[in-house]
């Protein structure tokens, strides 16, 4: 609880680099509000997740109400309203991956990380105790030819087997 309060108290502002990128974004659209998604991506990259302070800041920058920002944040699964691990592991579990045994990979990941799968309303459930990994199921990642796949932050890992998962986790943990 105290953490959440601190987050509200801590104001958020873009760092210099992101401010530059944001300035570039704004000019692309006839209305400022349209820059919402790229701006939120930018803010999330800087802050780790979308705190109330981030929403307030983004709302001010785009000249819309905070509620509108909240509205958008809650709609899209890629925006997190809770802290997530350093590495977010997204595992695809839609049909083509399911036909290639993504379930086995998922079970292996769960056992290996000793964590459950995060739900959209409870990311902590899928986050490891040391805060390094968050495991979540996502829908089709559009890589069905190389199924099963996972995405770790921005990188895609293909044709996974439990052995490959072990290698990958060892690499990430080091």
């Amino acid at each position: 609880m105290s953490d959440a309060l601190i987050q509200i108290e801590t104001p958020f502002a873009f760092n210099e680099e992101n401010q530059r990128e944001f300035d570039g974004l704004i000019g692309r659209y006839p209305v400022k509000e349209a820059a919402m998604l790229p701006t939120l991506h930018l803010a999330q990259r800087q802050a780790g997740y979308i705190t109330p302070a981030v929403m307030k800041y983004v709302a001010e920058q785009l000249e819309v109400s905070v509620m509108k920002v909240k509205d958008v944040v809650t709609f899209y699964p890629m925006f997190f309203e809770e802290p997530v691990g350093e590495y977010v592991i997204r595992i695809c579990h839609t049909l083509p991956c399911a036909l290639r045994d993504c379930k086995g990979v998922l079970e292996h990941l769960k056992a290996k990380l000793a964590t459950d799968v995060a739900s959209e309303t409870n990311l902590a459930k899928g986050t490891t105790a040391d805060g390094k990994f968050t495991l979540m199921k996502v829908e089709c990642l559009a890589s069905c030819d190389v199924a099963p796949v996972i995405m770790v932050n921005d990188d895609l890992y293909k044709n996974l087997t439990p052995e490959k998962v072990d290698e990958l986790l060892a690499k990430l943990a080091s």
């Binding site: 692309r28 659209y29 006839p30 209305v31 509000e33 349209a34 820059a35 919402m36 998604l37 790229p38 939120l40 991506h41 785009l62 819309v64 509108k68 509205d71 958008v72 709609f75 899209y76 699964p77 890629m78 925006f79 997204r90 579990h93 839609t94 049909l95 083509p96 399911a98 036909l99 290639r100 996502v138 829908e139 089709c140 990642l141 559009a142 890589s143 069905c144 030819d145 190389v146 199924a147 995405m151 921005d154 990188d155 895609l156």
Partner: protein, 491 residues
């Protein structure tokens, strides 16, 4: 043996094709230069119309016709390139973006020239981080080389391209959902009309095209309409009155996944059959084909009886399915159709945007029914009722026998059909997401009913042999026709 005909994907594996210089070596941007040097914008639009190019995103609507709906006197006009590829089973756009982004830019330039468009947004799905990076780099390079920006090649043409990341919502692949999302709102589709061609993004006329559609344009311009129309079959479109020729021209990037030996993207002429495609993809992994999903998970399933169906827009529509985005998922004899349906219904229940009540509540309901059946708690009545089936006259009617009542299967069909009715093709929702839910739900259940019944009966997932699990096409057809008045039966 069918040969691949690589056009869009021809140079995909050339090293560094993502850079301007290498792309230029392979005729890059010459098609655009040809367009601005030899043709007027209207000529380009006419060529696209004559080529018979159909939108590759899912609906299969004629691209030229779509362009003709855009009013000429309202400016600015926008182009939205739909790169929000999220239909399960589809992954062809990803490779274009990651490996050959300049081809897309060239396609966009040709479209912009034809339509007098100055601003293009490429709505690229949030998970495509590499694709976005490559596209951004290519856009930057194109600006530097003078193929984007103000007064391109001294012609007075101005085109700006911006990439816009999505954030993981499937519904943003629907064109009006995409527009809402691009405007910085929740991606909830709009009522149509007004269609985007008249009132789209920022209230202005907007052309929304899929990546693959735009990538076809350079080749239509470069090689001419005649060359393009040679590829693919033409049918008499029996849906039109009077029947008109319905061209299915060009190649399609078929994405094949599931139980085949070599899953991947295969570029082939439109109009080859399911079994040919499975051969091209290295053959089946397993003994026997149980089912094929022909156009992304929204498409009604095809059974082993229907493997000779040609995979093009017209043939699949006549087979009461659709080519959609060309994502083909093959299932072998070991797969349980109830389990597969459960997986797909979980997807739709998760991705419903929540705007329309039938879809918001109906999709989780359908998922829960299938879950219940898969868990072995499917409900069955103790009473029986007269069995309807193929009667003596070949039509649906009372066969004089009795049948057991599977409550949950009746309920499944009823709920799904009230989101969108697959027999009358009417939907109670704003967008076609509704029909994308009920199509698989109803078609899986009807075509593989014995497997559903056995699962309910046994109280656990039962995988039947292919021949036993599948309902024959005649019986399925008669079932579909059961509410159709006799005088319309054969239309």
């Amino acid at each position: 043996m069918v040969q691949e005909r690589r056009i869009l994907y021809e140079h995909l594996d050339v090293p560094d094709i993502n850079t301007f210089d290498v792309f230029r070596q392979y005729d890059g941007y010459t098609r655009f230069e040809k367009a601005i040097a030899e043709y007027q914008p209207d000529d380009v639009a006419k060529m696209v119309m004559d080529s018979g190019l159909k939108g590759r995103g899912g609906a299969g609507f004629s691209t030229g016709l779509k362009w003709s709906f855009v009013p000429k006197d309202i400016k600015p006009c926008y182009l939205c390139c739909n790169a929000d590829e999220s239909e399960p089973g589809t992954f062809s756009n990803r490779y274009v973006l990651e490996k050959n982004p300049h081809l897309l830019i060239e396609g966009i330039l040709i479209c912009c020239y034809a339509m007098g468009i100055e601003t293009t947004y490429v709505y690229i799905r949030g998970e495509f981080t590499l694709g976005k990076k490559m596209l951004d780099a290519a856009i930057k390079e194109a600006y530097e080389k003078g193929y984007l920006g103000k007064d391109i090649r001294g012609t007075g043409l101005n085109v700006d391209i911006y990439s816009h990341p999505g954030a993981g919502a499937y519904i943003c692949g629907e064109e009006t959902g995409l527009i809402e999302s691009l405007e910085g709102k929740r991606g909830q589709p709009r009522n149509k009309p007004p269609f985007p061609a008249v009132e789209g993004v920022f209230g202005k006329p907007t052309v929304v095209q899929n990546v693959e559609t735009l990538c076809n344009l350079p080749f239509i311009i470069g090689n001419g309409v005649e060359w393009y129309t040679q590829m693919g079959p033409t049918y008499a479109d029996t849906r039109a009155n009077p029947p008109t020729p319905d061209p299915n021209t060009g190649t399609k990037l078929y994405c094949i996944s599931g139980d085949v030996n070599e899953p991947g993207v295969y570029e082939l002429d439109l109009g080859l059959t399911c079994s040919e495609l499975i051969e091209v993809a290295g053959g089946l992994r397993g003994e026997e084909v149980k089912a094929v999903i022909p156009g992304g998970s929204s498409a009604p399933i095809l059974t082993h009886y229907e493997l000779d169906t040609r995979l093009d827009f017209t043939s699949l529509t006549l087979a009461k399915s659709m080519l959609g985005s060309g994502g083909i998922i093959v299932m072998n004899e070991t797969r349980n159709i109830v389990d597969c349906l459960l997986n797909i219904m979980k997807f739709y229940a998760h991705e419903s945007c929540g705007q329309c009540t039938p879809c918001r509540w109906g999709t989780p309901w359908v998922r829960d029914i299938v879950q219940r059946i898969a868990d072995g708690n499917g409900r069955k009545d103790t009473m029986t009722r007269p069995k309807f089936g193929v009667a003596e006259n070949g039509r649906w009617g009372d066969t004089g026998e009795t049948e057991e009542i599977y409550e949950d299967l009746d309920l499944l069909e009823s709920v799904a059909n009230n989101i969108a009715n697959v027999d009358t093709m009417t939907w109670n929702t704003i967008c076609v997401f509704g029909i994308a839910v009920s199509w698989p739900a109803v078609s899986y259940m009807r075509k593989f009913r014995p497997e559903f019944e056995a699962t309910i009966q046994e109280g656990k997932l039962v995988t039947l042999p292919v021949a036993e699990a599948t309902v024959s096409p005649e019986e399925n057809y008669a079932y579909q026709q059961r509410f159709v008045p006799k005088e319309f039966a054969d239309l």
